[in-house]
């Protein structure tokens, strides 16, 4: 698949946009790095060979945009422990093989635990309705997915249904990455479909505090190019602000009804993102009113009982965290495409279709421009 030719709906426009991007970066006259925080953006960039059209001085880095990848080790452990207690765990397919301290959910399943792969939270509720067993939704994902979890919690689920929330909230982690020592990131490209829910306004306080521009972009190659043009223009003009380059989908306010449900059910708390850092307000947990649906409140989860085992030695060499922070890329990892491949992932970034390592494994990461031209 790595040999896919460039396919644009409007090659003429793509060429013009690419020329503009090159001209703007030349005008800047220095290397510049920007970050996007969305696995689908990285997929599109890699799939359509966009990096081969970027100016050499422009580094477009994938940040912590893969929810499965940033689900922390102890969070996986919580799911594994509940599964080992005999509870049924319902979760998304790409969560299955994400390593915990000792086991992944797939390992627990191989040991006899009951794990159901679901496509959406409603399916987990359906499973609960059709059994007397306790069913726990291992709920991963960013705010877009958390809204769906909130909706099923508000829709009177059966008493044997509960939620282990590992949901994460994107805006706070952007602050962390922007403030990291040695961070070269001068602008962010935000994911269009997440902003459908939150609206572009969610990034305004971030821009105010960090003086770094944010551009919301769609997923077509042309959308991404247009977003980057906008972003480099803002960097050139030294005018940090939020620009919505995806107005056919995103409004300033976003979906207020969805936001109301999200914040009625969840509250942001600080917590670790795998490999990155403690992120203040980066985790979404159930509010106290929903303790009856909160697996952490309903069941005993004795994490230290798992930690009697030593973690696998290879995992300590994984640099997934640095990759998601934009400090290093998969090629800098000793394990990438050697010990660590999608069939046998060592780190979370090789598990999910949205992980930088898996995307680079499949599409080849930074293409050789001259060779593919």
């Amino acid at each position: 698949m790595s040999g896919t030719p460039l396919q644009f709906r409007d090659p003429e426009q793509a060429r013009a946009m690419s020329a503009t991007l090159n001209r703007l970066v030349a005008q800047l006259d220095r290397p510049v790095a920007v970050m996007h925080v969305c696995g689908s953006h990285e997929q599109a960039i890699a799939k359509f060979g966009l990096r081969s059209t970027f100016p050499k001085a422009l580094d477009v880095i994938m940040g912590p945009g893969c929810p499965v990848c940033v689900t922390d080790v102890p969070e996986v452990d919580e799911g594994v422990l509940l599964a080992r207690q005999g509870l049924r765990i319902a979760t998304y397919g790409d969560m299955l093989r994400v390593p915990g301290t000792v086991q992944s959910l797939a390992d627990a399943q191989a040991d006899g635990a009951k794990i159901d792969i679901i496509y959406g939270p409603k399916q987990a509720v359906e499973i609960a309705r059709n059994t007397t067993e306790e069913v726990v939704l291992f709920a991963s994902g960013f705010e877009t997915t958390a809204v769906a979890t909130a909706a099923v919690i508000l829709d009177d689920p059966p008493p044997n249904f509960s939620v282990l929330s590992t949901h994460k909230y994107i805006p706070p982690v952007m602050e962390i990455v922007a403030e990291m020592p040695g961070s070269r990131i001068e602008g962010f490209l935000a994911a269009g479909h997440a902003a459908v829910i939150t609206g572009s306004a969610v990034f305004e306080p971030f821009v105010e505090r960090n003086r770094v521009p944010v551009v919301i972009a769609g997923f077509e190659p042309l959308d991404i190019l247009a977003g980057l043009v906008e972003l480099v223009e803002l960097i050139l003009a030294k005018t940090p602000k939020v620009v919505n380059a995806f107005p056919r989908c995103v409004t300033r306010e976003g979906n207020l009804a969805a936001q109301e449900q999200l914040w009625r059910v969840f509250r942001p708390i600080g917590g670790r993102w795998r490999g990155i850092a403690h992120v203040p307000n980066g985790n979404l947990r159930l509010r106290d009113e929903f303790a009856h649906v909160d697996a952490r409140k309903r069941f005993t989860i004795d994490l230290p009982s798992l930690w009697d085992f030593a973690p696998p030695a290879l995992a300590r060499q994984c640099i997934c965290g640095d990759i998601m922070a934009g400090i290093r890329n998969p090629r800098d990892c000793r394990l990438f495409d050697r010990e660590c491949v999608p069939e046998n992932p060592i780190g979370a970034c090789m598990v999910s279709n949205e992980g930088t390592c898996k995307i680079w494994h499949l599409y080849g990461g930074v293409p050789d421009l001259e060779a593919s031209a």
């Binding site: 698949m1 896919t4 396919q7 709906r9 969305c38 696995g39 689908s40 953006h41 997929q43 599109a44 799939k47 945009g65 998304y92 397919g93 790409d94 679901i118 496509y119 959406g120 939270p121 409603k122 399916q123 994902g141 960013f142 877009t144 997915t145 809204v147 769906a148 909706a151 508000l154 829709d155 994911a191 479909h193 997440a194 459908v196 829910i197 997923f219 077509e220 056919r248 989908c249 979906n255 207020l256 009804a257 969805a258 449900q261 279709n353 949205e354 898996k358 995307i359 499949l362 599409y363």
Partner: protein
């Protein structure tokens, strides 16, 4: 994934819509969409929930990327696989 998938609404029963995604019909919750949705409308689906009603003037533009991805029809491709999984509910 953060890519929602558009589909055409066939039928609406209170808070559930039957939606057609390139021939695959699925029930989609309308619990979080912020506008009234009627048969013939297009919505953007994420994990079984409509997160947006797509304005009629944006429908063709929105469909284009997905048509391209589905037409490529490569089973090993991540984007195509993710879109198919979202359509078929096999994520």
């Amino acid at each position: 994934m953060c890519l929602g998938v558009p589909g055409r609404v066939i039928d609406v029963r209170e808070f559930i819509a039957t939606v057609d995604f390139w021939g695959v019909r699925k029930d989609v919750s309308l619990a979080i969409v912020d506008e009234p949705v009627a048969p013939g409308d297009y919505i953007l689906n994420h994990v079984g929930f409509a997160i947006r009603r797509i304005p009629p003037e944006s429908v063709q533009e929105t469909l284009a990327l997905y048509e391209l991805l589905l037409a490529m029809g490569d089973d090993g491709d991540l984007m195509t696989t993710d879109v198919r999984a979202e359509i078929e509910g096999t994520a």
